[in-house]
Amino acid sequence: MRRIISVLLENEPGALSRVVGLFSQRNYNIETLTVAPTEDETLSRLTVTTTGSDKVIEQITKQLNKLIEVVKLVDLTEGAHIERELMLVKLKATGSQRAEIKRTVDIFRGQIVDVTSSVYTVQLAGDSDKLDGFIQAVGTSGVLEVVRTGVSGIARGEKVLSL
């Protein structure tokens, strides 16, 4: 099952490589990984999406917690949560394609952020399925380049991951 694990990490050199190293050392799977500093400059927030049985996920969270630089973590998929991923896509856009792409972008509530005579660059945010859906809708033949940030997530309601 797919899980989103959100981690508060000491913002220190080498801390990220410990997390990434743990996944490869113990043969766990990383699908996406995002990391950036938080409002507290001593902490980074890292979000990792992974898949595995309940037993594997339990081991992942325990092993992550064992890393000295991991301050706190939560499996967001255990409760209601919001997940977002940002995607930038370059699409071939000439002739009648231009209007068609524009319509699809509107339906997906994306934005065209750069334009040339033959290329649209589209920005789209949403959960991963929505981004996949957009690529499917425009058709892979017109896609020139895709860049995705990986998933970030936060719990719904009053639950907060902080010190």
Binding site: G14, G21, Q63, K66, I68
Partner: protein
């Protein structure tokens, strides 16, 4: 406040930490530190002949004393040579701090002479690693390193020290922190009271209980609590290879150790039990055999300081995270005050069954009128040293024979590389023990394969006068490899023979020690007595043992706990 250079601060920090010995080898990036060492005499440095041996020495010291060991090496090859030793300590949760020189900060990343990313290289095999970024940080980094190494589930910590952090003419204010606090590291100090209560209720209701204890009992200094609880309950106890000595082997409630080469009765009792109380062990694959066939009727209580060890391979019914001594103490109190008592009838029939298993095999082996059996060498050594020696071992058949036939009644005396299985561990580990236990008998039980992996340390033994006794069970082959080839590869002995063994007697003499060869069975006892009488000499005893002997019992691969070979022809 005192002004000290980084190098002096480092050594002062070690003094203030109470470090008696460091084991190491100098080199360019560590020279400022070695100069600071030279100008004091509180911390004693032991110069090894290879950095791997320095780590095993620190490891042997830590296992025998329960205190963290300390290693000092230079950058690059000095540092990478420690990796096998660090991995050995990591797998067995041994507290240790490894101080590594590093090239100067401005050279890092430039492929400088003797530069290796030791933080990166060591990452998978350390509990944590730290690098010094400013000389002023040194006392705090050192305090942190020992704190992390020795608390919670212990383990090795590497400290990377760029050369410019220890420059002699730059001085800083020195003070050693009394305490260290890490917001992201808080090992449990007691177990969950509700879980402990539940565990005690289950324990008292059990019909066929087994206590399964591991190295965590020794590391957690909980042998007394474990022994008291076990005796109070009257339950059978088995321990892992790493747990040897956590409960007296000569006691009738002790079933020997369990697992791949464990006793018949221990493995049978585990398989047929209805309740397993696991204390500081980790259901390692050499214990459980196939996990899906593991102890089908047993419910499991698992006490461990490391939550990640619980339900990792075998699901626990009652997990208890906490230090084993504190948890056992609470369990003892609850058992004492409980109105419920163990079911005497059930226990009596359980013991009857266990005694039958015990009588059925009883660690028998075939003897021969003229060939020396490795098992009888160990039994004899145990008798001649009253079971009181510190015994280190290397890895292979001799290790299993030593663990099976030497009866340890005390913790910290059986010292082996159980997790990583590092050949070459035995001699340097024995040296680390002998250094701090000069009046105790220290035996290194080894084989002609393993001993050659760190034999250069005979030179260190001469320099520091470390009269350990090296017992070389010489079967002229890599015995355990050969045994597996006999059992699984139709006796195709691929690369398991040693075709040009050195003359170990001359070798020992060349290093300034005594060598004794024993080839005849009738000489065995008298010569071993002579060897043990040479108190102040390192003696290399080269004993020619049966070349065809196998270690039994041996669990059948991918079977359950109870599926074992009991001899070359007998399978149950």
């Amino acid at each position: 406040m005192e002004l000290l250079s980084g190098a002096d601060m480092l050594i002062r920090s070690l003094q203030d930490e109470g470090i008696e010995y460091i084991y190491g080898y100098p080199g360019g990036a560590a020279l400022h530190i070695y100069d600071a060492l030279f100008r004091q005499d509180k911390v004693k440095h032991i110069l090894v002949r290879h950095e791997q041996a320095a780590v095993h020495m620190a490891d042997g010291y830590a296992r025998a004393t329960g205190k963290p060991g300390t290693v000092l090496v230079t950058s690059g090859p000095g540092a990478t040579n420690t990796i096998t030793g660090i991995a050995t300590a990591f797998m067995d949760s041994i507290p240790m701090v490894v101080l590594c020189g590093q090239v100067a900060s401005h050279l890092i990343g430039e492929d400088a002479f003797q530069e290796t990313d030791m933080i990166g290289v060591s990452r998978p095999v350390v509990k944590h690693n730290l690098s010094v970024r400013h000389p002023e940080e040194i006392p705090e980094v050192i305090r942190k390193a020992y704190y992390i190494a020795a608390t919670g589930r212990p383990g090795p910590v590497v400290v990377d020290i760029p050369k410019d952090m220890t420059t002699p003419n730059e001085r800083y204010e020195y003070s050693y922190p009394k305490k260290v606090k890490l917001r992201s590291y808080n090992p449990a100090i007691r177990g969950h009271a509700g879980q402990i209560k539940k565990a005690v209720d289950m324990l008292l209701a059990a019909k066929r209980p087994v206590i399964y204890a591991g190295g965590g009992v020794i590391l957690g200094k909980a042998s007394n609590q474990l022994t008291e609880l076990t005796r109070m309950l009257g339950y059978p106890l088995t321990n892992t290879l790493m747990g040897i000595g956590c409960y007296p082997a000569s006691d009738k409630q002790h079933l020997g150790w369990l697992g791949m080469h464990g006793t018949y009765e221990a493995n049978m009792a585990m398989h047929h039990s209805d309740l397993i109380l696991c204390v500081g062990a980790r259901f390692d694959d050499r214990v459980t055999n196939a996990t899906e066939k593991f102890c089908p009727g047993a419910r499991i209580i698992h006490i461990d300081i490391d939550p990640a060890s619980i339900s990792k391979t075998v699901e626990a019914d009652v997990p208890i995270v906490g230090p084993v001594d504190a948890v056992l103490k609470e369990m003892l109190a609850l058992v004492k005050e409980s109105k419920d008592k163990p079911d005497a009838d059930a226990l009596a029939s359980w013991w009857k069954q266990i005694d039958e298993w015990r009588a059925f095999h009883g660690m028998r082996y075939e003897t021969s009128p003229d060939v020396i059996k490795p098992q009888e060498v160990i039994e004899l050594l145990c008798k001649l040293t009253n079971g009181e020696a510190f015994v280190t071992s290397d890895v292979g058949q001799h290790q299993m024979f030593a663990a099976q036939y030497y009866k340890f009644d005390k913790p910290n005396r059986w010292i082996n590389s159980g997790g990583l299985g590092t050949m070459g561990f035995g001699l340097p580990a024995a040296m680390g023990v002998k250094l701090t236990h000069p009046d105790d008998e220290v035996l290194c039980i080894t084989g002609e394969g393993s001993i050659q992996m760190n034999i250069q340390e005979l030179s260190t033994c001469k320099q520091y006068n470390l009269p350990v006794k090296i017992i070389n069970l010489n079967n002229q082959a890599l015995g355990m490899v050969k045994q597996w080839q006999d059992m699984n590869y139709e006796s195709r002995h691929s690369q398991s023979y040693m075709e040009s063994l050195p003359d170990f007697i001359k070798l020992a003499e060349a290093y300034g020690h005594v060598g004794v060869r024993i080839e005849k069975k009738e000489d065995l006892e008298s010569k071993l007595k002579e060897v043990l009488a040479m108190k102040d000499k390192l003696v290399f005893v080269d004993i020619y043992v049966d070349r065809f002997e196998h270690v039994y019992p041996m669990q059948v691969a991918r079977g359950s706990m109870k599926d074992m070979w009991l001899s070359k022809t007998e399978r149950v």
